[in-house]
Subunit: 72 residues, 12 copies
């Protein structure tokens, strides 16, 4: 079958690590998006407070298969 | 009038050609998006099986006019 | 708290200026998106009629906090 | 009909604003190019004198339809 | 001999395929440019009408050898 | 298992189409590379002769799983 | 003489316009940097409050001639 | 108030992780720069010794508010 | 001596972290490549299963000194 | 005065050096373009014959002031 | 005939010049690769010792025709 | 030890060659920066006078180890 994917962009944040920031974004997306297949890191940033990393912010693009008419 | 467009990103796939992959993505998007105006190719990839192209995957950005409050 | 943002892409247009094109896009987005935090300019284009700028078109990415399950 | 466009690159300058720099470039191009359709901003720079912006320089690509043999 | 090339940018369009859009641009350029040697695809876009691809638009850079004083 | 892939870059050419140029590159690679999984288009160019496209040249990156010590 | 320039990066902000954001950055830089010659816009962003642009943020690179040993 | 930021580029290194490399760079910068606000990852590299990662090197851009005349 | 390096591109994967994905790729490369000196991260992606990160995929370029005729 | 510049792209070649390739392109352009002001290197390539550099090819963008109606 | 090329990436170094760094890389590659056709400069770097350039490092991509089964 | 580097950007100019422009920038930087380790070429431009190259301008990023509190 010839599949169609939709790609959305999210930014996750975490005080701990880049991986945790990505996982937070995907966990949040999983509440409303089914059939997520892959992600790609677009940008890694962060905020600094008192001379230390306060949290990491990782922006990712998530691709998911489009399986019903109300998603696109 | 000063028009506003929303841009979404889709990936279409096809065993035949890049054009067919694009057309599949647009055909699928047409089920839920009205007033699509243009597209731009962002990335062309594909999968290989048994040493041959299994299918093409073309990622496009589609722009459409925003005409009612529940689209953006 | 570890916040998640969703980023969407819009193109605003204006006969007057780039700033007005951006503001038109954001004003339109505000009808359906709450909690918008920032934007980034991705592309600036325009149309020409009779040898003059007919209108500016500025494409922006808007980031907003995701606060309920039906947004992502 | 299947139209062909030619794209040329110009840099306009203005003491006032980026928009005025773009308009100066297009106004100048209009003296010799007919049927201009669109532009895209490629680069925005400027010169500084005495600690202030002396003028803005905006480089644009202009697309126009090719309608006679002596243009390309 | 130490050759000099000039590069120009054209956008061809076609209802059928990307290849046809490129060939239309080159065919049109051939009316006024001699000694074209190569091209490079810069951008692939298209217009959509009634939920289908209306035509493909491929922007290419064409390189040609400069052989007489009135070309550059 | 945690798979490792090697990526190589090839340029295929074809008088007919971009797809055929890609397929020629992959067909040639299949003579010496096993377990190819995907490709990505990096660049599309071509040569011009007598004012027409002589052939398309498509540069792709091919990813394949590394399964024995003499491949990397 | 063979001049050397140093380039620094600043982000200016303004509630009014992109030009004013650039001018604010340059005005601030002028307090400590002499002999500034040019700038280049690297990025244009902004913050949104209550569904409106709160302020524009323009990041520029400023080049200045190095004229004494304590600048570089 | 219309704030001005200065952006500087640092490369931190760590034997452990990318996050630790970033934190080392920021910790070092904190000795001389006050009011750091954010960072952005520009490049991630590393050195290899004896077939293993010897250390990660992450290059970041740090933005800080300019609050006195001797910083810019 | 004037050294020559060869650069190859590998993609490592890991369920745990980006660092582990990089280390897996380098560990695998070490089986056949001697004298590896550095790496650079080119792309970070991943796969998602059941709404969670299944594994990270990091593509790196590895540089190694060319010390014998059968490597290049 | 608010000056307008036109930018054209040329590729020069030389058996000797990159600088000579650039100078060949500019020398050739000087036959038909007056008031050239600056150039920017876009791409550096070359051809190889018998395992040695046959010649360098440097593609540059040249900016010149537009001073009469038949140039743009 | 429809030719296939393989592209490899090498970094050459030289105390003298960028051209010599490129030539060193190609001369080294010529020991194992036949039928090299072209190169493209990807990156120019260098090392500094005692406040002077110690050597230039130029990374190039080399394309060669694939003429036998054991090359790809 | 886990080293931190600071990166600064300079533009050197030379009537002779790109290498000389780079060396001029580094020679100038050496007056105030100790422990410079490497550079990377970011941009190559130049000025034209009377249809000839007046001088080359090469912009480089220089990395140096941060060894005392008053450098960053």
């Amino acid at each position: 079958m010839e599949q169609v994917y939709k790609n959305v962009e999210l930014t996750g944040s975490s005080k701990e690590s880049m991986e945790k920031a990505i996982e937070n974004a995907i966990e949040r997306a999983a509440k409303t998006i089914r059939h997520m297949r892959w992600f790609e890191v677009l940008e890694t940033r962060g905020f600094i407070e008192d001379g230390k990393v306060a949290y990491y912010q990782v922006t990712i693009k998530i691709g998911f298969t489009v399986d019903n008419p109300d998603v696109a």
